[in-house]
């Protein structure tokens, strides 16, 4: 397992009032993403455990786009990854932010 952590500036504060959201499952090519409202405002932290080694640069690219495009300020995000493709990671993160905003899915 490879463990990666990132703390990124996230200008847009996460919307809604839910304290926590979780989406996805840990399976081959899939991942779970848990979002908690416990990071300092203006930042978004990531703790990642991944089965696929050596993709730190791709993770960083995905996460940078995520904090630029979505409202992720103040979120602590925990990820357990079963070797998901970058498009799946980006989709789960986008879904997670929508969930914590409070849309009942």
């Amino acid at each position: 397992m490879e463990r990666l952590t990132f703390t990124l500036a996230a200008a847009k504060q996460a919307g809604g009032l839910r304290q926590q959201a979780i989406i996805g499952v840990v399976a081959s090519g899939n991942l779970e993403v848990m979002l908690e409202r416990s990071a300092p405002s203006g930042t978004c932290t990531f703790e990642i455990e991944t089965a696929a080694h050596g993709f730190g640069a791709v993770w960083e690219a995905v996460l940078n786009d995520f904090v630029a495009r979505r409202a992720a300020g103040g979120l602590r995000i925990t990820i357990n990854d079963g070797g998901a493709r970058p498009d799946t990671v980006a989709l789960r993160l986008a879904q997670g932010v929508r969930l914590i905003e409070g849309d009942e899915a």
């Binding site: 397992m1 979780i22 499952v25 840990v26 399976a27 779970e32 848990m34 089965a51 929508r98 849309d103």
Partner: protein
């Protein structure tokens, strides 16, 4: 606003749903309070040794909720994480829930979706199965109903099949498979002539929900939707079964009769014909209501035990 949120529970396929989606759609809207949830980060201590990723809830959601206004305890296994298999933490969460059920006299709903015990933590998993069965039986003896719901991708195999057999009522879909030994294991040990695990129609005809329902291995057959499971679970809790020596004697006698009657059958279709169902060839293709109309009155029923 998402389009999906406007879709009702009827469109939520149980087979496709995650453990969390199943519980959300099963109990009264928003009534779940989870115990030892993902934020507690109570993950498996064993998987890292094998270089395998953990899941924050170790593949099972447990908690308390309301079902049609009645306080219940619920559990749901995530069949896609490690095949829904029992490990140390996963098993301990279910043991705790069943002990709480006995102490608080609350009925329990268990959404099974499991291939059995995790190979990577086999000793802990096997012990967990034993503890779960003990806790389940003690809860039932105290008058608690334990309803099993089976319709996930992984089916209900191995120790999961043993636990299911101890439940008060089993609700199953056609897709839901119940057995102890899985198709691949039977083929490996007994040969492809005995059991062709690649023949999907044969696997479902033998282990699938329709057959289990017809031979008294499951009590209610429902369509593959969360709404159907919810309605059946409400129905099951309002018609309680009793576990005592009389129940076990009756079930033992039924199983002996069943073996004498069907023991030489080569294929499930022979059993269906012997039950008086006609025709049987298209039985697997029928939707639930047509199936129940043709075969529902001809099935064997269990006696609150299997």
């Amino acid at each position: 606003m998402s389009v999906i949120s406007a879709l009702r529970n009827e469109t939520t396929s149980w087979y496709e749903a995650s453990a969390r989606q199943r519980i959300d759609a099963l109990v009264d809207r928003g009534s779940l309070t989870e115990f030892v949830g993902p934020a507690a980060r109570e993950t498996s201590p064993h998987l890292a040794i094998f270089g395998l990723p953990t899941q924050l809830d170790d593949g099972i959601v447990v908690g308390e909720a309301a079902l049609d206004g009645r306080a219940v305890l619920v559990a749901a296994q995530e069949g896609r994480f490690m095949g829904g298999a029992f490990g140390e933490v996963h098993g301990a969460k279910l043991v705790g829930l069943l002990r709480a059920a006995r102490a608080t006299r609350r009925d329990v709903l268990i959404c099974f979706d499991t291939g059995g015990v995790r190979l990577q933590e086999a000793n802990a998993g096997e012990l967990a199965i034993a503890e779960i069965i003990r806790a389940l039986v003690l809860a039932r003896l105290a008058g608690v109903q334990v309803v099993g719901l089976i319709g996930g991708r992984a089916g209900c195999y191995g120790g999961g099949g043993l636990i299911a057999a101890c439940c008060s009522t089993l609700i199953v879909t056609e897709q839901g498979r119940i057995s102890v030994t899985g198709p691949e294991v039977i083929e490996t040990n007994k040969g492809v002539e005995e059991f062709d695990s690649k023949d999907r129609a044969f696997v479902w005809r033998t282990m699938g929900g329709k057959h289990r329902y017809l031979i008294g291995g499951a009590d209610r057959l429902v369509a593959d939707s969360a709404a159907a499971f919810r309605a059946a679970a409400i129905g099951a809790l309002s018609s309680p079964t009793v576990l005592d020596a009389g129940t076990l004697d009756a079930e033992q006698a039924r199983l002996e009769r069943r073996l004498a009657r069907f023991g030489t059958a080569e294929d499930a279709t022979e059993i269906w014909s012997a039950l008086g169902i006609d025709p049987v060839d298209d039985l697997p293709a029928l939707d639930e209501s047509s199936f129940l109309a043709r075969a529902g009155g001809k099935r064997e029923s269990a006696d609150g035990a299997r």
